[in-house]
């Protein structure tokens, strides 16, 4: 459904961005999205391995706007296993490369600004986030820790460790920092997400319910938090997005609602009469809108929730509506 209302909150499906494409105004296995000032979105395209084994040209970082304007892309042939991206207050972009064990840095124009290995403290850098002071937090799927670095890669602190007890991780992936400095982590292998204080004290766990409106998480890949503290988790294994109250209880879930083509997708379909005919023969197109491996998730300053719908090569955007009024129900 396009509008989801629960517990005094409402999320409206807004629109899709992009299409499945190896170049230009489309995406190839978009794995993460990061919000930059001015409605700009960076989209990390995981792509596929090249014939030589590494660095295929469809691995790239796309730069688009939330209104679906294509600005360009960069970082082609510079990434092996890019997993996540984050943007700092100056507009610099940081990209984890889990194979190279490095953070690759680009400026606001997409120019390569170097890379760092965190003083050798990056075993398997996966998720990445910046705090208000431009410190960089990275999940290390090898050591099962959250690691904190300065923006130029100096190792500052870490917490976590392998295990399933509260505060421990099993191949963690996505990470985000709340407005108050809290650290939120998608604990992929433990099928849950966790919240910590800035210095690593465990505060809350998400997704361990085995019943209820949303059930348990299955290999969550990313996490985001809105201005009111509601928490969004990409439930990658279940192909859903789940929404939690900040202290843990589940609120609802989103299944994906992109039943209308994005602007770029529409251009492709309308330029191909055979595709138009093929769609007209399909009995049930509802599954067109569903998430197929939602991976990355981000919330912008207007509380738009932006999800990378990886296998479908698009983003899905939901808007959290603050003053929603129910329609007349006997219409």
């Amino acid at each position: 459904m396009l509008t989801t209302t629960v517990s005094g909150r409402t999320w409206n499906f807004s629109h899709a961005i992009g299409r499945n494409a190896a170049a230009g105004n489309g995406f190839t296995q978009p794995t993460d999205v990061a919000v930059a000032p001015g409605g700009v979105l960076y989209v990390l395209n995981r792509g596929q391995e090249g014939a030589g084994g590494v660095q295929a040209p469809n691995k790239r970082i796309g730069k688009v706007t939330i209104t679906e304007e294509f600005i360009g892309d960069f970082a082609r042939e510079e990434l092996v296993w890019p997993m996540s991206i984050a943007v700092d207050s100056a507009g610099n972009l940081y990209c984890t490369d889990e194979y190279d064990k490095k953070i690759k840095v680009y400026d606001a124009d997409g120019i390569n600004a170097g890379e760092w290995n965190g003083d050798g403290n990056l075993g398997s850098p996966s998720g990445i986030a910046c705090d208000a002071d431009d410190n960089i937090y990275v999940t290390d799927a090898d050591s099962n820790e959250v690691k904190k670095f300065s923006s130029d890669g100096k190792f500052l602190a870490s917490f976590g460790g392998a295990g399933s007890a509260p505060g421990k991780f099993n191949r963690p992936w996505g990470i985000t920092i709340g407005a108050d400095g809290s650290v939120y982590v998608a604990d992929w292998g433990n099928n849950r997400a966790q919240k910590f204080s800035a210095d690593g004290e465990h505060i809350a766990t998400y997704g361990e319910e085995t019943s209820g409106p949303a059930g348990a998480l299955n290999h969550p890949s990313d996490i985001a938090v809105d201005s009111e503290g509601d928490v969004y988790v990409s439930d990658w294994g279940n192909k859903l997005v789940k929404i939690y109250e900040n202290d843990g209880p589940v609120l609802t879930q989103l299944e994906g609602d992109a039943i209308e083509f994005s602007k770029w997708a529409k251009e492709v379909v309308e330029s191909n009469p055979d595709v138009v005919k093929a769609y007209r023969r399909v009995k049930d197109t509802r599954s067109l809108g569903l998430f197929n491996r939602p991976v990355g998730i981000a919330v912008d300053e207007d509380d738009n929730i932006i999800i990378t719908d990886s296998t479908r090569g698009r983003l899905q955007v939901y808007a959290k509506e603050k003053d929603y009024m129910d329609p007349q129900f006997n219409l």
Partner: protein, 468 residues
């Protein structure tokens, strides 16, 4: 039976019923015994499946690979290299040989992977169920045009291949049977799916359209009635030719190279007694597949068939990777390596035709042989790989601080099989070993390890090593 003979027999079992095994694994199996190992392979459900989550986290393109074959091949290679259910995976490869379906036409590698998963799911269960699942498999329906098989205009492609290649073999039905069989499968089709543009591949679903099914009587292999597809399969299973045909495929794949399939109606099986025993087991067990495999792997004819089959390219690649410990888990080279069987003549998920691949000696030509040898040599000589390091450790610890060239060659042959070789081959290996003299493990371990890698690569290049 000596310990060495038992290890050799278990190595033979694992080459055929799986993708080889390391010596450590073989020794653990020897403690359980041969028959217990066969049971362990058959009871694959007791072992965990491949961790698909890890595959798709690091290789997302391989989940819904679309038109290009390589990501789909990478998906299957990952399964074969990492599986703890080797016989289950080998049976999927077996059925892919028999029910050969190709991406060149289907152009949806994701649907081929779905078919392979179906082989994993039911490929060791019951042959009737497998045929029903095959007849309703979207990739197969499109591959053999059953979506073009209409009540008013039958298309015989699926009906013909079901009889000729999937169940009975040439000579065991008439042209009229093909026609009647095809009529019975009218209406077995696929629903229109959402096109690949602009959001990638969507699933295809089997659809039975009653209005397009021919409801009139069919006369098929001596039976007459208003048959539907499943009735046809039941009549096929009553034919003596059916169990004989399928177990000959099993014999050809697991025991000994038979003539190519198109010759089976004119050339007798190499071992008619074995075919008879297996076929009888198949029928007595209502076409359950596991009992036939149990009899096959425990039979003398299987145990006597060591090194009587040319390894298919997939076996060459996967067994080398498993032996050397290369490409374990996610790896950026996965897609590139997944193309290697194709370079050797076996593009998995894309066989040359519905007849599948010609096997046995036809795997070997001047080009494919070079590819086979180089693939093995590149890895088995790489003493940085964990599996090779383990082989070197074993040879180093075999008999003392030094080793004569004769002892060195013998130990290397032992670790590579044990591989029996001709006197001529042994002489050439020995000549190479003698050129550097005594192997001094205590004085020069690293150099001895280098020599070991080179000797293993030479063995991998022998005529004998092409057999499995």
């Amino acid at each position: 039976m000596s310990n060495r003979e038992e290890i050799a027999l278990l190595a033979h079992l694992m080459r055929r019923a799986g993708f080889g095994a390391t010596r450590d694994e073989l020794e653990a199996m020897a403690e359980q015994g041969y028959e217990a190992t066969v049971e362990h392979l058959l009871d694959y459900e007791n072992q965990p499946p491949v961790d698909e989550y890890t595959l798709y986290r690091y290789h997302p393109i391989t989940e819904v690979p679309g038109g290009a074959a390589a990501p789909g091949q990478a998906n299957w290679l990952y399964f074969m290299v990492n599986t703890q259910r080797p016989l289950n995976e080998k049976m999927a490869l077996f059925w892919h040989h028999v029910f050969a379906t190709g991406n060149a036409k289907v152009d949806n590698c994701n649907h081929l992977l779905e078919q392979i998963q179906m082989f994993r799911d039911v490929g060791m269960d019951n042959y009737r169920e497998l045929l029903v699942r095959l007849a309703s498999n979207p990739a197969m329906i499109y591959w053999l045009d059953n979506n073009e098989n209409h009540k008013i205009a039958p298309n015989e492609n699926w009906g013909r291949e079901l009889l000729e290649l999937f169940s009975l073999g040439v000579g065991n039905y008439t042209e009229q049977d093909v026609y009647e069989c095809s009529r019975a499968f009218t209406g077995w089709t696929i629903s229109a799916k959402m096109p690949r543009y602009p959001y990638g591949r969507h699933p295809w679903q089997f659809e039975y359209r009653a209005e397009d099914h021919d409801e009139t009587d069919k006369s098929f292999l001596g039976y007459t009635g208003n048959f539907n597809g499943e009735d046809i399969i039941d009549i096929i299973l009553k034919q003596p030719a059916c169990p004989n045909f399928i177990v000959r495929h099993l014999y050809n794949f697991f025991v000994e190279d038979e003539p190519q399939v198109p010759a089976w109606n004119i050339e007798q099986p190499r071992n008619p007694d074995a075919i008879r025993v297996l076929a009888q087991t198949f029928v007595e067990n209502d076409y359950d597949i596991k009992p036939v495999l149990r009899v096959l792997f425990n039979s003398d004819f299987f145990k006597d068939a060591m090194y009587k089959k040319v390894k298919n390219p997939t076996e060459v690649v996967v067994s080398t990777l498993r032996l050397t410990g290369d490409l374990q888990g996610p790896d950026p080279r996965l897609e590139a390596v997944a193309r290697e069987p194709g370079y050797m003549g076996q593009d998995i998920l894309d066989p040359p035709s519905v007849e599948g691949w010609h096997t046995g000696h036809e795997w070997i030509n001047s080009g494919s042989l070079v590819k086979r040898v180089n693939f093995v040599a590149d890895r088995i000589s790489d003493t940085n790989l964990p599996g090779v390091q383990r082989i070197v450790e074993r040879i180093a610890g075999a008999n003392g601080a030094t080793m004569t060239p004769e002892e060195f060659v013998e130990n290397c042959l032992d670790q590579m099989g044990p591989l029996p070789v001709s006197d001529q081959t042994r002489g050439e290996l020995l000549s190479q070993a003698q050129s550097e003299g005594t192997v001094d493990w205590e004085g020069s371990y690293d150099d001895s390890a280098r020599r070991t890698g080179e000797m293993l690569a030479l063995i991998g290049a022998t005529r004998e090593y092409q057999f499995g």
